[in-house]
Amino acid sequence: MLRGLNIIAVGGLIAAAAVVYDVKYSATYEAQKVARLNSEIAKEREKIATLKAEWSTLSSPDRIQRLASKYLNMKALPVTQIGNFSSLPERLYTSADPIGDIINSLDHNGGARDPIGTIIEKLESAEHAAPKSEPETTATVGTSDEPETTGSVGETELPEPTGTLGDTPGDAPEAVPETDAAPEGEQTEGSQ
């Protein structure tokens, strides 16, 4: 009985010693790890601080102004160009569902929204119109487009690249068939 207890006690002692040993060394290891991480954090912080200082130096207003006046063609903002929301005109139409509107418009006049389709349609109508009466085609071409249409092909294509930015993309499909139609019309004119 007593011996059994002794054996258990001795065993427990050894086990406890082993556990303590393990805990102590793992604690030391962890402490070292913590110390290493802390010094790494400190180093990173220093790096961040250095980078921040560099950024502040590079973005200092003095430097920005010097560079801006050297490389950019900018001017000081006049007070008169500052406006507020109340001075803006009322928005004409606001839709609750803008995407739905687009889908609807596509459904209703899909042909008009399909550029290639419109080109084909225009060409077809031009061809249909051409045989009917010769002078009429030239007349329509002349009035619908610039006077240059009666000139060479190169001239008719000129206005396209110089078009202003304000031109909405919606205008493009209409403009394309017309300029295309013009040489077409000329060809038919020339051939006939």
Binding site: R45, K52, N84
Partner: protein, 568 residues
């Protein structure tokens, strides 16, 4: 084997022998002894466990950090104005020996050709334990020095104070010495909060210090400095200075005093460029002081806007004569005295109040005592020792009393912000905090009248050139003759402009001072300081978020609406 059995037998015999009452007590004593020893050991273990291992702790903090760090200084938008960066420093320990000194000198000079040979040799051949050889060493240079393999030569990290904005805010920030101790400006103020003691104890290391946030806006500061530099070149002035103050909180949004200096570069503290003219200089503020005189009389009820004063003839005081620069030679109303900047009128208004009341009013407005801010540098106003009637008459138009410009701006802010005197600060402050420390010095109605007068002066008075459409600028010009060898000089002038905007609800005061403008034809404030202020307001208005309004009534209507509001 037999001996062992004998020993066991003896031991068992001894045990048996001790099975008496006495031996039992002895056993108890022994057990107690051992137990107490164990308790001591356990206690000690617990103590060690509670205290952190000093070895580990030392490894955590960077032992190489020599000069301790300082808190970052940020502007009101969080932009960095001052920060610490680490740089390596080359040192040697000559006592431990650096090998052959001549070799070491030659080798070090291959990496750093700019090191002085004799100085280096002296340092290395001394018997000191530690000598500093060179600061700010790049990574590449460190690598090269390590390759040389000179014994007992090494590197230490030290923190260095850098000011990313350069000269932009030199006077406000001040500077630090080589040991990172603040020697001027806000840097010195930062130290006064016990930081210097922390440094000495070695606690202020790492980046644990909370940054100091200022009321200064770097963008506004730059705009102002840029415009002032232009003005300085344009009018060939000796110096120009200016500041922007938030009238609602007393926060200093910008403060420029040219010439200035780069705090990154060490310089002599006696250098003239180190002088902050707005806080350490005292000046006779000239006609801008008339605003105070008029406010005093309006507030006391001694005068109304309709009161008339005879300015048809110069005033004589013994051998002194007070004349008007823009003489009208007739009876003037109070607004006319302001817009024509009549010295005679202002003197008469002040004299109607009496010397004592005038003095008491100026003391109440903080013009007679030293104004202290966070900046350690401040100046005592020059107050006449024997203040007689002649002094009151001249001080009424800003001559005979020299104050720090910051002081005058504080008083002007009280004239337009509804009558509250708020001590100016360089630190961020909320309107609530400002309200707590504000002191009521004028009735709100007086403030309304002063706003009207300031605006009127820009619409049709001497400050017309300060007008910026949309910002409803108001202001007062001031041209004073500088005292040269005890006499007022006629060609050395100081021109001042205090601009307020927007006048219907003042938010900011802009002060511009041009010292000794030489460009003839632009010598008075209305021709140099006023247009400069206008330019500054046009630039800083959008930065400060002041909305321009273009449908505003004239000043007369402003007063009308104000008086209607008061009647209701």
């Amino acid at each position: 084997m037999s001996r062992l059995s004998q020993l066991l037998a003896g031991l068992s015999g001894w045990l048996r022998f001790t099975e008496g009452g006495v031996s039992r007590r002895r056993i108890a004593i022994v057990v107690l002894l051992f137990a107490s020893v164990h308790v001591v050991i356990a206690g000690r273990l617990a103590l060690i466990g509670i205290k952190s291992d000093p070895q580990v702790a030392r490894r955590v903090s960077n032992p190489d950090l020599l000069a301790s760090t300082r808190p970052d200084i940020l502007d009101r938008e969080g932009r960095q104005l001052a920060t610490d960066v680490q740089s390596a420093m080359l040192y040697a320990e000559p006592r431990k020996g650096v090998g052959y000194v001549d070799d070491a000198v030659d080798q070090l000079r291959t990496v750093f050709p700019d090191l002085d040979e004799r100085e280096l040799r002296d340092k290395l051949s001394s018997k000191k334990g530690f000598v500093r050889l060179k600061r700010e060493i790049s990574e590449r240079q460190q690598h090269e020095v390590r390759k040389l393999g000179i014994p007992h030569v090494g590197f230490l990290d030290e923190s260095k104070r850098v000011y990313p904005a350069g000269s932009e805010l030199s006077h406000v920030l001040g500077g630090v010495n080589v040991d990172s101790v603040g020697i001027a400006g806000l840097e010195k103020w930062v130290d006064s909060g016990g930081l210097a003691d922390l440094h000495m104890a070695g606690f202020a290391t790492g980046r644990s210090l909370k940054p100091v946030q200022l009321s200064v806006d770097l963008a506004v500061q730059h705009a102002m400095r840029d415009e002032l530099m232009k003005a300085q070149a344009n009018y060939q002035a000796k110096s120009t200075s200016g500041m922007v103050l938030d009238v609602r909180t007393g926060e200093i949004v910008a403060m420029v005093s040219l010439p200035d200096y780069d705090p990154n570069k060490p310089g002599k503290p006696t250098d003239l460029s180190r002088l902050n003219r707005l806080t350490t200089g005292v000046y006779e503020m000239g006609s801008t002081f008339k605003a105070l005189t008029l406010a005093m009389a309006l507030d006391a009820g001694k005068a109304t806007l309709a009161s008339r004063y005879d300015a048809s003839a110069p005033l004589h005081f013994g051998r002194f004569t007070i004349t008007d620069y823009h003489a009208q030679r007739r009876v003037l109303t109070v607004p006319e005295i302001f817009t024509y900047s009549s010295n005679i009128g202002a003197a008469k208004i002040a004299m109607s109040m009496g010397v004592d009341q005038h003095k008491a009013f100026l003391r109440k407005m903080g013009q007679l005592d030293r104004l202290r801010t966070e900046l350690p540098e401040s100046a005592m106003p020059l107050v006449p020792k024997n203040w007689g009637e002649i002094n009151t008459a001249t001080i009424a138009f800003g001559h005979g009393l020299a104050v720090a410009p910051l002081q005058a701006v504080m008083a002007t802010a009280a004239l337009v912000n509804g009558g509250l005197l708020i001590p100016p600060t360089f630190l961020k402050r909320t309107p609530e905090e400002a309200k707590k420390i504000a002191k009521r010095v004028l009735r709100p109605e007086t403030s309304d009248k002063m706003r009207y007068l300031f605006r009127l002066n820009v619409e049709k008075g001497s400050a017309r050139r300060a007008e910026i459409e949309g910002y409803y600028v108001g202001g007062k010009t001031g041209t004073s003759e500088k005292v040269v060898r005890g006499r007022y000089s006629h060609d050395k002038l100081l021109t001042v402009f205090t601009g307020v905007f927007p006048c219907y609800d003042p938010k900011y005061i802009v002060l511009v001072m041009v010292d000794e403008p030489k460009n003839t034809g632009h010598s008075t404030a209305g021709l140099n300081a006023a247009p400069t202020t206008g330019q500054i307001i046009a630039r800083i208005g959008p930065l400060l978020g002041v909305e321009p309004k273009f449908d505003l009534p004239k000043a007369d209507q402003l007063l009308l609406t104000v008086s209607q509001r008061a009647a209701n």
